[in-house]
């Protein structure tokens, strides 16, 4: 993309502020279907995510939450309907896909850090080779985000030497180093020991407070209450309910939602 300066955190935020004034949605999903072989995993998904909007997706295991957000950066291919991210429609055009992926960060349940690279190399690889950022600038940005996630002292270690919570924070920082406009989180805390969940959630909350566009698949309902603009409930490959958090939790409409909430918030 042609932003003149992507090298410092400050300019990254400035870019985002500019975007917030435009009314174009960050993500538009229209009548989208997806199959795994014969299995109809996503059915008629319609979802618009505004710029700066924070969305939490909940739903029982196997309901297609991961598949849905993985379609947004085309780790999975959809077969019907449209997905438009940052104004770019996802099609088979590989060049456009890489273009979209640059602007969409993703955080995985199992971190997926690159084990053969140091933390700093994990963070600078994509900015250097995808954005063409000079090494020194990329390292400065990387250190900035490592400080934000509160582990600058780990910069020269390897991922295997860090705890799960630290690794997940590095993974978030790695995505942020690309100065993305949208962040996708796929159950970022569900592989963590309980005492590490908070440190990761804190990072996500501060990110949300800065106005990052976020889609989070998570069962952390406290997080949903605190930062989400909308909670989306999925079941059997469909969005069956969406509402603002207070309404969603206190007044669920659908039987399935009620059952799910009763199981998750006892």
């Amino acid at each position: 993309m042609s932003e003149p300066s992507q090298t410092t955190a400050a300019s990254g935020q400035a870019t985002r502020q500019d975007k917030a004034t435009s009314t174009k949605p960050a993500i538009e999903i229209i009548g989208m279907h997806k199959w795994y072989g014969d299995f109809h995993v996503l059915r008629d998904i319609n979802l618009t995510v505004g710029d700066g909007e924070r969305i939490v997706i909940a739903g029982p295991s196997g309901s297609g939450k991961s598949t849905l957000i993985r379609c947004v950066n085309r780790l999975e291919e959809h077969q019907e309907g449209q997905i438009i991210v940052n104004g770019v429609e996802l099609t088979a055009d590989l060049k456009r896909i890489d273009e979209v992926r640059r602007e969409v960060g993703m955080v995985f349940q199992h971190f997926n850090l690159f084990p053969h690279l140091t933390i700093l190399q994990n963070l600078t690889l994509a900015p250097i080779w995808v954005r063409g950022t000079p090494k020194a600038a990329a390292e400065a940005t990387a250190m900035h985000y490592l400080e934000r996630v509160k582990i600058p002292e780990q910069a020269n270690k390897f991922p295997g030497q860090l705890s799960g919570g630290q690794q997940q924070r590095v993974a978030i920082a790695r995505s942020l180093c690309m100065q993305p406009r949208i962040m996708l989180f796929d159950e970022p805390t569900s592989a963590l020991d309980p005492e590490m969940v908070k440190e990761v959630l804190d990072v996500m909350i501060s990110l949300a407070e800065e106005g990052m566009t976020m889609i989070c698949v998570t069962h952390e309902m406290g997080f949903a209450r605190q930062v989400a603009d909308r909670v989306i409930f999925m079941d059997q490959g469909q969005i069956i309910e969406q509402n603002e958090p207070e309404q969603f939790f206190s007044n669920p409409q659908h039987e399935r939602t009620k059952l799910f909430l009763s199981q998750i918030l006892h």
């Binding site: 890489d98 995985f108 997926n112 053969h116 995808v130 993974a171």
Partner: protein
């Protein structure tokens, strides 16, 4: 009653272990005589060594005729090697029929090769990129013109005259440096989602793997000329190189594929989600990890290639082994009971030295690359 149970009031000082836990006797007890079965096996092992080692030692050194010996001495002994023969024919074993006054040319090639290659192997040394570029692109050209001549006033030296260790090393080094990248490309191609590329790679790999190297060398002798313009002959050395490279690349491709399969899908996805393109993902993320997993298999292929060079006699090249065999069969002036055996023993020792070095070096690399991943 308020019985709080046993609480230690003072720390326990360290005291010596009841039995020694280290030392030669302990080691032997633990490793050699732990059980009656172990003791029995140890005894058998020692007997076996006593049976094998002394005669071998006597043949190679004890009863042998040294490099400065004469053929008469060699004929006088029955149970020792005739190193004088190897010493006298060394030039043929190393250079084949290369003109003796011109031997400085291969010598420079050897020296230059060592000078550029050894620093590449030592991780601590700087300038790896320049070093690698010199070795991969400049050195082959220089080496070729030095050896073949015909330019800069160097007399022409057809490849038919090259031989011995020189040919063995040329084929191994060129074979390894070409087969390695080709094998990687084939492995990636085999995993491709594009059916055409995948089919081509699978067909190539399966075809080559299901045929012995000898057949491929024969084919290279017969098929290659067919692709060439009329009247143009294909150099024998080139045929051997093509045959050996294609053969090894097919095996390497399968080894590398094994490594690729060991990489979790999350690594591909994380790399993709950062916007890295296909080749960047492979080069920076996937291959470094995949290749590290399969270093033993890769080196296995390299060692196999090194030894397989001895098959190039099929296309009429005299590699080290063939050079030794030629002399063994033809050097009447050196005929004695153990002349041929000594020649083969020499070839075996040279092959062993190279293969063993490769094996040790790969173990060193494995250990080195591991430090970042574990712990």
């Amino acid at each position: 009653m308020t019985d709080t149970g046993y609480v230690r009031s003072e720390l326990v000082a360290a005291k010596p272990a009841p039995n020694p836990t280290s030392g030669a006797v302990v080691w032997a007890k633990k490793n050699l005589f732990a059980t009656p079965m172990d003791a029995l096996l140890t005894a058998f092992g020692v007997l076996f060594l006593l049976w094998v080692v002394p005669p071998f030692f006597n043949f190679v050194l004890g009863h042998a005729v040294g490099p400065m010996g004469t053929v008469e001495e060699c004929r006088a002994i029955t149970a020792g090697a005739c190193w004088a023969y190897v010493y006298n024919e060394m030039e043929f074993f190393i250079y084949g029929f290369y003109d003796i006054p011109q031997l400085w040319r291969p010598n420079i090639v050897f020296a230059l090769g060592a000078l550029l290659f050894v620093p590449l192997l030592i991780p601590k040394l700087p300038f790896k990129r320049i070093n690698a570029l010199l070795f991969l692109f400049v050195y082959p050209v220089v080496a070729y013109f030095l050896l073949a001549g015909g330019v800069f006033g160097l007399s022409e030296m057809p490849t038919e005259k090259w031989g011995g260790l020189l040919v063995t090393l040329i084929i191994s080094v060129v074979g390894i440096t070409l087969a390695f990248p080709l094998g990687i490309v084939l492995a990636l191609g085999r995993q491709s989602t594009l059916p055409v590329i995948k089919t081509i790679c699978v067909t190539f790999i399966e075809l080559i793997r299901s045929v012995p190297l000898i057949t491929i060398l024969f084919m290279a002798s017969i098929m290659l000329p067919l692709f060439m313009p009329q009247g143009m002959t294909v150099d024998k050395l080139l045929r051997a190189l093509v045959g050996v490279t294609l053969f090894t690349s097919a095996y390497l491709a399968e080894v590398v594929r094994g490594g690729l399969q060991a990489i979790p899908r999350g690594q591909y996805e994380a790399a993709a989600s950062l916007g890295l393109g296909y080749w960047q993902r492979m080069y920076f993320i996937i291959l470094p990890q995949a290749l590290k997993h399969v270093i033993p298999g890769i080196v296995n292929s390299f060692i196999a290639l090194f030894k397989d060079t001895s098959l190039v006699y099929i296309v009429g090249m005299k590699d080290l082994l063939e050079a030794v065999k030629t002399k063994n069969d033809s050097a009447l002036e050196w005929q004695s009971a153990n002349t041929a055996t000594t020649g083969y023993l020499f070839a075996a020792i040279v092959f062993w030295a190279f293969c063993f070095s490769m094996s040790r070096y790969s173990m060193f690399m494995e250990r080195r690359l591991n430090t970042g991943h574990k712990r």
